[in-house]
Assembly symmetry: C2
Homo-oligomer: 558 residues x 2
């Protein structure tokens, strides 16, 4: 094994970091990690090797060292019914904090360049394990295989590299050294030599989610890492494996580079241990990243007072439907957005606002009822073939989603019922089509709660103006990660843009083709804003990284 | 009157903004606002005109419009005994919040370039009033005239421009527009046009301090302004005039540029109104800048939960004395640091740590007692002439400082007593020389409190190693804005640097010439770190500005 120091890893990956920086500056399309699970990209045997590697992990303790761990714990179940049987060392929070604290000075001394080099090396190796990762993501989150490959692999790696570059760039904006010479009247200048050192805030904690453990977990993990903070990775009990693999790779790269591998550790708990709370409120933990429920996110914001807390929670993703000149394209686009991964995305539209007078389209005028029927038709067309439907829908991740699906129809008129899909390829998976329920604007109590899963409401409003008012008001109060508008009127688009600025949410306009409101592209699209209650930060702008470190100065006469 | 739009003001000041950005990137010496109050720089009549302008303000209501104000209030008294008699409109918090909220959409729409242009124009005009400002600062803070001119005028303007440039640069890192084209297999690329808009967090509140109302007030004010947040300026009741002049200029420039002047408003209160608390906890206030006591700073951090809170509070500025090859230079430098503005700076050294074995110097070995006597001698030499002493010391700002001066001697051995200075030019001013008291390391309870004012402790430690331990430990717990070390040993300097990184404080090494630990230069030195309890931020790094705005995106098919 040839090992490289952090400085050598930086040199190896320097061009990639530069290229990534250019992408971030221009926001043009760029992706270093190919999203296609094809042989031509990943190699002839990659798919088979990846599956074999995944299978080899099943039914035994996952091979990872966790400082101070006691015993083993396994909490995952596959939404596809596969018996996983993987167990992990059970974490002792105090031992993890001590190990992370002990690793800090060496990691601080590595400096931004070396840390960025290590981070990219970790990502390169994670990328090489993308097929293995795809199986791990599929069998914890319930995503269909291709989506698990893309969202759990290359897309997540893109977001990780984005956070790496952002963290690296922001932490070297102040130069490492400077000469300062102040002219003096009638004498030599006052000359000082100054040194600037990046210092991490402290120990970081990344709390993962169950639906996108890597895509939502990597940005915080890599941003903290590159800015010098040792990171304790605490996966959701339902989706440990994808992050365990990631931590395993990180520790391997760190150790090879001569760094204490406890710069990244894995914290797996027995249900009831509540180690997230224990860790999050420890004075040594100074940075927290969290994706998940508003309830626990708000708890963290209120109680983890010693830390900077980056949360991505939930909200009311909204579509304002006013008019369109591509009715078919709009319906197709919406149907896919509602169906992808059974709506189990923090970005899936929930509230579709339609004026009572109906909408103008290239296929003629449509009343809210007609629009509902047409949307139901588009869903039926998209999901008609069980095998193809399963590839879009994936499986239902847990019982919470199932019970919401059962409850929601009682609140209004069912526009399209949720139905089970029997996929012959996945007989043990729970697969459901999206539910669409029609409500009126007076049902605000219903549609201002988040209904995570394949549940959407077609809300009839007095007018498009009223839709915009409702959008602005509900998103301001309850948050949203996405919003979109359909209109052929420039004035309506303009008003929707202003409303989105007021509401603090990103806006997609007239999506009728191959781009969907639920999807964002790293290096170009921001994910989250911080400007509404759904999230305190965005992947990955400067604000996402600058709170993770300080620059300390020393100076002396030159 | 020729008026210019924000866009035209940006064009006018574009070169200056570019030059300032270069200074920030290199951290070399640069200052656009000359610090010398000389005729050759500011013009033949500038001094006399400035004094006349100041005199014209006395004894009457200050001419400024404050939305919703009721009656007049005057709370200032000059530490030099001059009867000021200036009064200001008494603020109504609700009216100020409503006015700021109403001004927000227009200010948001101006965009980063126009806002930066307006900010620089404000600074240019404040600079032209530097002599008037110097009198206002002298007669509220007690700073001697030349210091009031420099710290209250050009140096404060430098820090303001630094914050302006930092805010401008960070808010345009993401381009305003981008074209995104993703290649598709066997077809046209997916093409999207994207728009990115800077959106302010909300209404900002700047709470000023009594000793450096402009120097400490401008960074937050200008950072918030340039990132689009309307700012309510709430001066300390003891130092209103310098900020009232600043707000007056800001409103004048805004109005001329066609912008609602309520983008900047003045909030003056009757004692007991407690409008800082009312404003700070209002849900509409989303950004707070505060300089002052740890007590109120901590209160803000705990209670203003809806806002991002930037505080600069107090701490234990520490000097580690180990050895020197320029004993005279060290004593002279320290004596000046303790004397400047009677130690009423957040950066004045309080705790001087000296090993019990004494220190090695080019003038031979010195015991702690001998070092104390020599420091007392250096103070005597510096402050021997009353008129010259008064020019360094300025006047005591309030009764709190006086009573601490009376209390401190009882805790240890007086090394040098504080004495009154009778300056014939300022018969009504309260002027005092610094007090130095010797303590032992076991008097930790005394020296771990902050004794704001001309009060320093010479603390005898077991060894330099023990000094470093004490430094690291006390600053970690209680904070500090400055630290310095004197040593001829490379290993001691190295250890002090590590200790300073651990403690989270900037370090000055072996200052023996014309640079003093209490002084920092804009565009090169950071002031504060955020890494210890004395402050949550630094003037002015990226972290100081990125929390003040969000970037919101909209996208559509190209």
């Amino acid at each position: 094994m040839t090992t490289l120091s952090p400085a050598e890893l930086y040199e190896r990956h320097r061009d990639l970091l530069d290229r990534a920086r250019t992408a971030l500056d221009t926001r043009e399309y760029w992706s270093p990690f190919p999203e296609s699970p094809s042989k031509s990209v990943y190699g002839e045997s990659a798919a088979a090797d990846g599956e074999a590697a995944f299978r080899a992990l099943l039914g035994k303790p996952f091979p990872i060292e966790v400082p101070g761990a006691t015993g083993q714990v396994g909490t995952e179940r596959s939404p596809y019914g596969l018996d996983l049987g993987v167990s992990y060392p059970r974490a002792d929070p105090e031992a993890l904090l001590a190990a992370a604290g002990a690793a800090l000075p060496q990691w601080r001394a590595v400096g931004p360049q070396g840390r960025a080099g290590v981070a990219v090396e970790i990502l390169r190796r994670i990328n090489a394990r993308s097929f293995e990762m795809a199986h791990a993501v599929q069998h914890t989150t319930g995503q269909a295989f291709v989506m698990a490959f893309q969202a759990g692999g290359p897309h997540a790696q893109d977001r990780a590299l984005e956070a790496t570059v952002q963290a690296f760039t922001e932490s070297v904006r102040i130069p490492g050294a400077a000469r300062w010479e102040k002219p003096q009247r009638g004498g030599d200048p006052l000359a000082m030599d100054k040194t600037f050192t990046v210092v991490p805030r402290g120990v970081a904690l990344m709390i993962g989610c169950t639906t996108f453990p890597t895509w939502n977990g990597y940005p915080g993990l890599f941003a903290s890492l590159v800015t010098g903070n040792p990171v304790i990775v605490k996966p959701h009990p339902g989706a440990v494996l994808p992050l365990a693999i990631s931590v395993q790779v990180a520790r391997e790269v760190l150790a090879e580079a001569g760094i204490d591998p406890n710069v990244v550790t894995l914290a797996v708990e027995e249900p009831g241990d509540e180690i997230a709370k224990t860790l999050a409120t420890d004075p040594r933990v100074r940075v927290i990243d969290f994706t998940g429920s508003s309830e626990f996110g708000n708890w963290l914001e209120l109680n983890a007072r010693q830390a900077v807390v980056y949360t991505e929670k939930s909200g009311l993703n909204t579509v304002i439907v006013d008019s369109t000149d591509d009715y078919k394209g709009m319906l197709r686009n919406l149907a896919f957005s509602l169906s992808l991964y059974s709506g189990q995305m923090c970005t899936t539209p929930q509230n579709l606002l339609v004026p009572a007078d109906g909408i103008e389209t290239d296929a003629g005028h449509r009343s809210p009822e007609e629009f509902g029927a047409d949307l139901a038709g588009a869903l039926g067309k998209l999901l008609g073939d069980p095998a193809r439907a399963a590839g879009t829908l994936g499986a239902i991740v847990n019982d919470g989603v199932r019970s919401r699906l059962e409850e929601a129809p009682s609140y209004g008129t069912v526009v399209r019922a949720s139905e089970p899909v029997d996929d012959p390829g996945n007989p043990d998976a729970t697969i459901r089509t999206p539910l669409v329920v029609r409500l009126s604007a007076s049902d605000e109590k219903v549609f201002t709660s988040e209904w995570f899963g394949p549940i959407s409401f077609l809300v009839t409003t007095a007018s498009t103006e009223d839709s915009l008012r409702l959008f602005r008001d509900t998103v301001r109060r309850h948050g949203a990660l996405t919003a979109s508008v359909y209109s052929t009127e420039g004035a309506v688009i303009e008003a929707a843009r202003e409303a989105a600025l007021d509401a603090g949410v990103h806006l997609s306009e007239n999506l009728t083709g191959g781009v969907f409101v639920n999807q964002t592209a790293a290096f170009s699209d921001l994910h989250g804003t911080g400007a509404n209650p759904a999230a305190t930060a965005a992947y990955a702008d400067a604000a996402f990284v600058t709170g993770r470190f300080f620059v300390l100065q020393s100076r002396r006469h030159a």
